[in-house]
């Protein structure tokens, strides 16, 4: 564990000064962040993605490869919650905002005072019963800030707007019904005067949608479903998908058995990105329901894919399906990083997406054309992506058959990587991907749709992939489509990632280590053992005292960590939808408990 596997060492980088002008600008052949993600660094971290391009990169460099070894705790804060902490601490001006998992308490901490005392807390008091219909721990992926307000979703499917100064509720809108298995876990994204959110519940036969709310009062402006007739999906004359398989009328109905689209999943619970030049909003759609694919012959549009939509109207512009007729719960909700790069001699605006299927997709974000799809995980269930048709190539031997256990399927149901976001360094031009190395056995069984209960039809058990470790942290060369170095971890890497101009990248492990890694070599430069396992998203900011800080929530849980956060019984390998089989030992190395850690240099 922890030993860096160096595929390539950039010998120069070790001797250069961190602020070296040579490294400050990426060479022209490197992928680069688009201009809208490149503004002057204001030292804040106001949305989990950091910017609309979702690069999760900060230009701060006081903490760098030279100084990082001196990092020390500046302050800590207990959230008082024992479930999985997947959220990102935000910093706006002199205030830090921390959102807990269910019961979704929002804390404001005063950074101008020693020890960052609490300014206020806002408790939305979500319905306790919502916990039963949250498939994979009661997580939340973060609040977002805009126009003097903090916006976030609650587990019982409300969206709230809170005054960022006072903590007073400005508005609150109910968007789903837990009796139909609908919950919310995603971080909203504000685009112009709209708050964009989506629904969770792909394991409960929820019909997925994305919705834009008026930022002033929370009323619905547009809503687009992921299944059903074109009108519901907001597919009209301006919908121009790149591949033929996405062309035709009402595919959201015709690629399903009769009426199955009504419980068809395609929930929108992951990351949103936005290109202000194209005015396009990018979002993924989740797995089709039920998990058992034999119940739903057809391509099951528009699940397990990426939509580009007009941000004002919600109208679909293009769609690409990463997993047509998804076989293994491969939601497509992972982060989409918007970059500019030169591809075969032509400048292209691209979207980079490390998917659950095991490939890093490079997609032209104006058209939806896949430029490359290169594997970053051991694969047995899929063999590649057909560059003519864009279609995922599957290994028929690993296709589910009812009542038969199919073995050695890689990647697993949570995919090669799940929700936890990568970061792109504007300096190194590399993508840093936190991911898994796992395989599974899968048995499809006939499911039963009962509203408000799970709709799965599969028994799963997971285990480590080749090499025996379950987590990897990889530096990825986007143009070449290959890894530069990888750090192996004993448990899945379920935390987000932060890249900085100090050439240090940060991530956390499920056994509790918060790590600072050399962005070019993968050398671990500093690490700190927190009180619980880490599945949160690291962020960095410049404090009111002018110094750089790094923040992370510790508190194990999530799908991978629910064996600890939910006190699950390790004797049942199928517990937590099969994750417990792989995670038995997590109980021996960490306990639950949510704590914010903030670090700075002495």
């Amino acid at each position: 564990m922890g030993g860096a596997r160096l595929a390539l060492v950039l010998a120069v980088s070790l001797t250069l000064q961190p602020a070296s002008p040579i490294l400050a600008q990426p060479t022209s052949s490197q992928p680069a962040a688009p201009h809208f993600a490149m503004g002057p660094e204001d030292g804040q971290w106001t949305i989990p993605q950091k910017n609309y391009a979702s690069t999760r990169y900060s230009d701060l460099s006081e903490i760098n490869i030279e100084t990082v070894k001196n990092l020390q705790v500046a302050f800590t804060f207990s959230t008082g919650v024992n479930k999985g902490h997947e959220s990102a601490p935000l910093v706006v001006g002199g205030t830090m905002y921390v959102l807990s998992p269910y019961p979704n308490i929002l804390y404001a901490l005063d950074l101008t005072q020693p020890g960052a005392p609490m300014k206020w807390q806002y408790n939305p008091k979500p319905a306790a019963a919502a916990q039963g219909v949250a498939c994979c721990d009661v997580v939340n992926r973060g609040p977002t800030f805009a126009n003097g307000r903090i916006f976030f979703t609650t587990l019982d499917a409300h969206v709230v707007a809170v005054n960022a100064e006072t903590g007073e509720e400005v508005w609150r809108t109910k968007l789903g019904d837990i009796n139909r298995g609908e919950t919310m876990t995603m971080a909203p994204l504000v685009v112009k005067d709209k708050v964009i959110v989506g629904i969770s519940g792909g394991e409960y036969g929820v019909r997925g949608w994305i919705q834009a709310l008026n930022i002033e009062d929370g009323t619905s402006v547009w809503k687009a479903y992921s299944t059903g007739p074109d009108q519901d999906v907001k597919i009209g004359p301006n919908f121009k998908p790149f591949y033929d398989s996405d062309k035709g009328a009402d595919l959201g109905v015709t690629t399903w058995p009769a009426d199955a689209w009504q419980q068809g999943g395609g929930t929108v619970w992951g990351w949103l990105s936005y290109d202000p030049d194209l005015n396009l909003l990018y979002h993924g759609t989740g797995n089709p329901g039920p998990w058992n694919p034999n119940q739903r012959p057809g391509d099951n549009k528009w699940t397990a894919g990426i939509f580009a939509r007009d941000a004002d109207t919600g109208e679909a512009r293009w769609f690409y399906q990463t997993a047509p007729h998804d076989l293994h719960d491969w939601d497509n909700i992972n982060e989409m990083i918007l970059l500019d790069l030169e591809w075969e001699g032509r400048p292209r605006k691209v979207l980079v997406h490390p998917g659950r299927t095991g490939f890093v997709y490079v997609i032209d974000r104006t058209t939806g054309e896949v430029l490359s799809a290169k594997p970053f995980h051991a694969l047995t269930a899929v063999t590649g992506v057909d560059m003519e048709t864009g279609r995922l190539q599957v290994n028929s031997e690993k296709e589910p058959v009812n009542n038969r256990v199919i073995r050695d399927i890689c990647p697993t149901a949570p995919g090669a990587k799940d929700w936890n976001p990568s970061a792109f360094s504007h300096k190194t031009g590399l993508l840093y991907i936190p991911h898994m190395n796992m395989c599974m056995d899968w048995e499809s069984v006939e499911p039963n749709y009962i509203a408000g209960t799970p709709y799965l039809g599969a028994e799963v058990r997971m285990y480590p992939g080749p090499g025996g470790h379950m987590g990897e942290f990889t530096a990825w060369d986007i143009k070449e489509g290959k890894e530069l170095w990888t750090i192996n971890e004993r448990f899945p890497v379920w935390s987000g990632t932060l890249a900085t101009a100090g050439d240090v990248v940060f991530y956390g492990t499920m056994d509790g280590w918060f790590k600072a890694v050399h962005a070019r070599t993968g050398e671990v430069l500093w690490q700190f053992k927190t009180s619980s396992g880490i599945i949160g998203q690291p962020t960095t900011y410049r404090g009111p005292d002018g110094k750089q800080y790094v923040a992370i929530l510790s508190g194990v849980g999530g799908w991978a960590g629910s064996i600890v956060s939910g006190d699950l019984d390790p004797r049942d390998g199928t517990a937590a939808l099969g994750f417990v089989n792989a995670m038995r030992e997590l109980k021996n190395v960490t306990t639950k408990g949510g704590t914010l850690y903030v670090f700075k240099l002495p």
């Binding site: 499911p447 039963n448 009962i450 709709y455 699950l568 049942d572 517990a575 939808l577 109980k587």
Partner: protein
Amino acid sequence: MKHLPLILLSAILLSACEREDREYRSNPVTAETEEKIALVPLSAGPSGPTEHRSGLGKEYEENAYHIAQGKKFYVWFNCNGCHANGGGGSGPPLMDDRWFYGGQIENIVQTIREGRPNGMPSFRGKIPDDQIWQIAAYVRSMGRNVPKAAAPGRNDDMHSGPAEQRRPPGEVIDGGQVPPAAQMPQ
């Protein structure tokens, strides 16, 4: 897609059984047994909580047929989606020795009927009463709180862990503070 089995089952309405009738048969969904069972070992006054059982619980949990039926209904009603094969998921484990809401069969029947606040749905009116008892008897077998001879043997489906029959006799501990029993030797 299968439809809700209760639609079929509730259509087969048998004539109401008499209370004394120990040969318990399919009941209309609405008929309910009423056992008096405390949720906690603590009660006001020195005598301890009053408990009154008709003996029905024993009949169910000592009967291999009822437990086997319960195992089938446990899957039909999607209990496994939230509790897996006893190890838990969004719902707590049912094979361990910790019981938030009581681990006697009468408590478990109550839990299934009424639901519980942190996300256990209420199945009242959705599952016929005798099937609730059968499911509860199966839940009792998960932690091997039933006689060995009555507990289910090996699964036909994916092997999730040792079969109920092979588990050591269980224990019921009230409350949610104690971590689940240590891992059993495989």
